[in-house]
């Protein structure tokens, strides 16, 4: 017995698992085809051991070339039972710090097929900016948008000092409720914001620019592009417009199945080949989906042109670096003691179709 205890003692003392990252290994094949922009962290879980997942959204790039890009700050969207929270993280002289200010978003009533909150990092000027859209099928009249900013490089992070923030989306155009929103990069300095509005079964697309003072979006002067007939009496849609405004892609989930149609201004064409949730329409006209951890790319006709496993990578956004559009992904790696580490990768939008799994 003494011998057994003697043998067991050192075993217990050194009983530790080896360093390991499933995420690093899962994403390795894909990561080799992208440009690694930087490693960010380690960061303690903003909510301790109740954090179940974190997504890192880097600040939108301002560099003219991809080689000049570094990852110095970004937004952390962490998931906890019953809520999500948002904070700002930045690299100071020695380590990564997180902002004292954190915004919490309750998840009560969330539809599993749609995000209750959409986090859109928008073009960086002198501040890091993120829009949080609250889109709830149960109360579309209460859908809102809230702008948060952080002075670069170290904050402070706060709700932007606007009179109306959060802002009801019904104020954007003629008291109509907004069902969907799209952020499309126009250049390295500006984004385009498209909304899908509804008025008694008739959908309308409206384009708005970011406001400068009292509200997130201006309450007048927004342009109604066109109207389209909504294909079902649903209260949540995903809607994307092509960069040249000639095509719209409208999708909704019915019984767990995604149904997509393309609207060319006069008629609705069903896209039977698109069966996944679409997360973005890219500047080259392709549609991408990251549903179930798989990156699926469709051309403008809804034909699947590529499909690869993301290996844990998460889609962040498309953004211009100089004059070249890139698609950005982040990888969240969880480690013992509620530590997280993040990597940011980018790939030219034009190369996305050539990714190999």
């Amino acid at each position: 017995m003494k011998l057994c205890l003697l043998l067991l003692l050192p075993v217990v003392i050194v009983a530790c698992a080896p360093p390991y990252s499933a995420e690093l290994n899962s994403s390795a094949a894909l990561a080799h085809q992208m440009t690694l922009l930087g490693t960010f962290g380690p960061v303690n879980s903003p909510d301790g051991n109740s954090t179940t997942a974190i997504k890192f959204l880097p600040v939108k790039p301002t560099a003219a070339t991809i080689d000049a890009l570094t990852v110095q700050s970004g937004f952390l969207v962490s998931e906890n039972p019953g809520r999500e929270s948002l904070c700002f993280a930045y690299q100071d002289s020695s380590e990564v710090q997180t902002s004292d200010f954190r915004q919490s978003f309750p998840l009560a009533g969330a539809d599993p097929n749609y995000p209750l909150y959409e986090y859109d990092v928008i073009a960086t000027t002198t501040t890091a900016n993120i829009l949080v859209f609250h889109l709830d099928a149960a109360s579309i009249g209460n859908n809102t948008v809230q702008l948060f900013t952080a002075a670069l490089p170290t904050g402070p992070f706060q709700s932007a000092p606007l009179t109306t923030n959060p802002q009801f989306l019904t104020s954007i155009y003629g008291s109509q409720s907004a069902l969907a929103v799209q952020v499309l990069p126009v250049s390295s300095a500006t984004d385009k914001f498209n909304f899908l509005l509804v008025n008694t079964g008739i959908g309308s697309e409206v384009t708005a620019a970011l406001a400068a003072s009292t509200s997130v979006f201006p309450t007048s002067g927004n342009t109604l592009s066109r109207s389209l007939t909504l294909p079902a009496s649903a209260n949540r849609f995903l809607d994307y417009r092509s960069p040249d405004d000639t095509l719209s892609y409208l999708g909704y989930n019915s019984g767990g199945q995604w149904i997509w149609s393309r609207w060319d201004g006069s008629s609705m064409l069903p896209l039977g080949g698109v069966t996944h949730r679409i997360d973005a329409l890219l500047t080259d006209g392709d549609l991408i989906s990251t549903q179930d951890g798989t990156l699926t790319i469709y051309d403008l006709n809804g034909t699947e042109v590529n499909s690869v496993s993301l290996g844990g990578m998460q889609f962040c956004y498309e953004a211009y670096v100089g004059t070249t559009p890139y698609v950005f992904f982040s990888l969240s790696m969880g480690f013992p003691h509620e530590n997280w580490l993040f990597r940011v990768y980018a790939i030219p939008t034009s190369a996305l179709r050539d990714l190999k799994g």
């Binding site: 043998l7 050192p10 075993v11 217990v12 003392i13 050194v14 009983a15 530790c16 698992a17 080896p18 360093p19 390991y20 990252s21 499933a22 995420e23 690093l24 290994n25 899962s26 994403s27 390795a28 094949a29 490693t39 962290g41 380690p42 960061v43 303690n44 051991n49 380590e95 951890g293 496993s309 993301l310 290996g311 844990g312 790696m333 480690f335 013992p336 003691h337 509620e338 530590n339 580490l341």
Partner: protein, 415 residues
């Protein structure tokens, strides 16, 4: 004292020392302790279990060993019935390399046991003891250190004092030519100043005084060294049993936090080296550094090891050392089978300790410090958290990490 005289004394001392060293294996020392075969038996003795009998036997043997100037006891297995006749008992004693035997039988009631003691001296060919002792209380099984055996052991010790070599001869020493049979090329040490070499016909001969106790050690490449103690009493032939060395060892092991693994070792026959391939899975194990007690990682480790045994094969415990590369592979969720990107390979050194358990089953314990290479030093460092404590790993930038505390233990089946 001049230099020539000093040299002469030194040479004489060396000669005497050599004589003493070689004489050690040739014959019993001057006044060597007697070897006594001790058989303990249980008669009609209600209330004493086999475990309690084992305790009594161990206590008796210990007391006999500790008796100053007494014989050196050799235990006769409790489970084997001690032969009934003096002739067979003498044979059992000779087979055990003993020159006398002692039979102790416990019987009677638990609260008042009696002890029958019979002993025989093979050298003088006489029964030295045949008596009984009665106790008036039970044996103190629960506090056996109180049992001194003062009514028996001193008598034995006094009766069998250490003897000089001449005592082993009942008359003038008679040289016997002993022919030993073994595999050709076997070296037999302990019977002559220089080891005997078994010839191509499988025999070798040596002249030895008889009767007398002897011990030999036979070695041959590819065979487990054989140790044999025997009592030479006129026999002229003896066969040395030799067992082929196992060449394949199969390990079932646990690494660090009880992560299970297996390995196969090829023991090189011509020298004490070995080659080992091993596999460890981290699918299940303890992990005190992961905020939880148990952990499961989709990670596996393959090792290739070259090693060397520092102890001879017939040692009760063997020590060995080795080193070799390791490769870590993983099948992560949502990923494909790949080499681990955090710590893909390393060099492992081992220092091992091995001892027999039962038959061909051995236990081992290995200290296995490992140096890992990492292509991701920043992720490796960050994986330990924000407080910069990376223990048990020591990081050596830019791309090395050492875990000096890895341990591996398990059982080894030698085939």
């Amino acid at each position: 004292m001049n230099r020539k005289c000093a040299s002469g004394i030194a040479v004489a001392c060396l000669f005497l020392a050599a004589q003493w060293i070689f004489a050690e294996d040739q014959a019993p020392d001057q006044n060597a302790p007697r070897r006594i075969l001790v058989a303990v038996e249980k008669g009609w003795l209600p209330g004493y279990s086999s475990e309690e009998m084992a305790i009594l036997q161990r206590s008796f043997m210990t007391a006999l060993s500790d008796a100053e100037g007494g014989p050196s006891p050799v235990a006769y297995g409790l489970s084997k019935g001690f032969p009934g006749s003096i002739k067979d008992r003498n044979k059992a004693a000779r087979d055990a390399g003993a020159d006398c035997w002692l039979w102790v039988k416990f019987s009677g009631f638990r609260s008042g046991p009696s002890i029958r003691v019979v002993s025989y001296d093979l050298i003088y060919d006489i029964t030295t003891f045949d008596f009984s002792r009665s106790r008036h209380e039970a044996f103190p099984i629960m506090d056996i250190s109180r049992e001194r055996w003062d009514d028996i052991v001193p008598l034995i010790a006094k009766k069998y004092p250490a003897l000089g070599p001449l005592a082993y001869s009942r008359g003038p020493p008679a040289a016997v030519t002993l022919t030993l049979r073994a595999h050709p090329g076997t070296l037999i040490a302990g019977l002559s100043p220089k080891p005997l070499t078994v010839g191509p016909d499988g025999t070798t001969s040596v002249d030895l005084p008889s009767p007398a106790p002897y011990a030999l050690r036979a070695t041959l490449v590819g065979y487990v060294p054989t140790r044999k103690a025997f009592y030479l009493d006129g026999q002229t032939e003896m066969t040395v049993d030799q067992v082929k060395s196992p060449w394949l060892y199969i390990d079932a092991a646990a690494l660090d936090g009880l992560f299970p693994g297996v390995s196969a070792t090829y023991a090189v026959p011509i020298f004490p080296g070995f080659v080992r391939v091993g596999y460890t899975t981290f699918r299940a194990g303890l992990a005190l550094n992961r905020d939880q007690f148990l952990t499961s990682l989709p990670l596996s480790q393959f090792t290739l090891l070259l090693g060397w045994y520092a102890s001879p094969e017939d040692s009760a415990t063997r020590f060995y050392a080795g080193a070799g590369p390791l490769l870590r592979v993983t099948l992560p969720p949502e990923g494909t089978f790949t080499i681990d990107h955090l710590l893909p390979w390393g060099i492992q050194c081992i220092a091992g300790w091995e001892f027999g358990l039962a038959g061909s089953l051995h236990a081992f314990f290995e200290f296995a410090p490992t140096l890992y290479s990492t292509p991701e030093p920043d992720i490796l460092k960050a994986s330990f958290g924000t407080d910069s404590i990376t223990l048990p790993y020591l990081l050596f930038p830019p791309s090395w990490a050492l875990n000096p505390f890895e341990l591996r233990f398990g059982v080894r089946w030698m085939l």
